[in-house]
Amino acid sequence: MLWHSPCSADHARGEVRRRAPSHARGIVTFDFPHLLNLGALICAAASAVVLLWYLIRRPPLNRSTRVWLFAGLGPLPIAAAMAGNVSNLEVTKKREFCGSCHVMVPYTDDVKNPESPGLAAKHSKNKWFGDESCYTCHADYGMFGLVVTKIGGMHHVWDYYTDDWDAPGHRPPKLYKPYNNASCTQCHASSGPREPLEHKVHKAGIESGAVGCGKVGCHGPPHRVREHAVVPEKVEGAKL
């Protein structure tokens, strides 16, 4: 009951519209990743046209051909790659993206369910970050934060493709390391005039991480997926 008030949903909607970030849908009608995506595709296509023209027509490699080839091998694909990276990185934060691996689908389904009482579901309804709620709460997870440097984040992908998650009785996904309370406190100061007694009692534990905010008995369980503890059969089109 930190920020909750009965009318918060409607009220928040009005609020958010005015200070909407680029990814809030329906406000800026064309959305940024899609535009970038389109731009990247156009650059890639232009580059491919130049390269194919060279390969098929085989013009002499004179100065103007070189300039064309340079454009087709340098600026155009670089622009495509950079716009593509930004757009792809945006997409990897989306809930649907997390759900593209069927192991994650019970979690994404749970937060989609308006009836779900889970903490994650409650955090997935607002327009500010609801769309990216998984990533927001699991940010240090940073799977694609910076692909090349955070190779460690590829752990999930590796686990996904090297393990048969459909095998009967396979264990459900579990955290690699205890959940970091700092993810919660980045948004919730957790202290203040209405600070509940529990927070005061467990202050040291919360700060050290010994008491997890998302644990049962505190604000957990965050995900109401235990009925899916054994991952159900493959969800159509979910894999890859």
């Binding site: 490699l61 080839l69 670089i78 593209s100």
Partner: protein, 102 residues
């Protein structure tokens, strides 16, 4: 190749031909590599799913970078060779002996 009758001229023409063949071959390879890279990038843009995205951001970028380097390298090779040929025009004796024999 108007000077192909002169002894040094034959050598230079051959060298020049060899160089331009190499350069063209490398430029073509750069194009092939880049097309593959663009394929990966395009795939990730059309289907923004884990695997395409990973491929685009790793193999795609690697191949794309290599293709540009290959192309720039081949142009550098060409420029250097032309410069050398021009210089040997002024100083024919400076061509390596083995090549002068051809």
């Amino acid at each position: 190749m108007s000077e192909s009758t002169s002894e040094g001229g034959v050598t230079r023409a051959k060298v020049a031909e060899h160089v331009s063949e190499t350069v063209e071959k490398r430029a073509r390879w750069a194009c092939y590599l880049s097309l593959v890279a663009l394929g990966f990038i395009g795939w990730s843009l059309i289907s923004q799913k884990p695997l395409p995205v990973i491929f685009a951001m790793t193999i795609g970028q690697l191949l794309g970078t290599l293709s540009l380097l290959l192309f720039l390298g081949s142009i550098a090779l060409d420029v250097r060779a032309r410069y050398k040929i021009k210089r040997t025009d002024l100083m024919p004796s400076s061509l390596p002996p083995s090549k002068q024999k051809d």
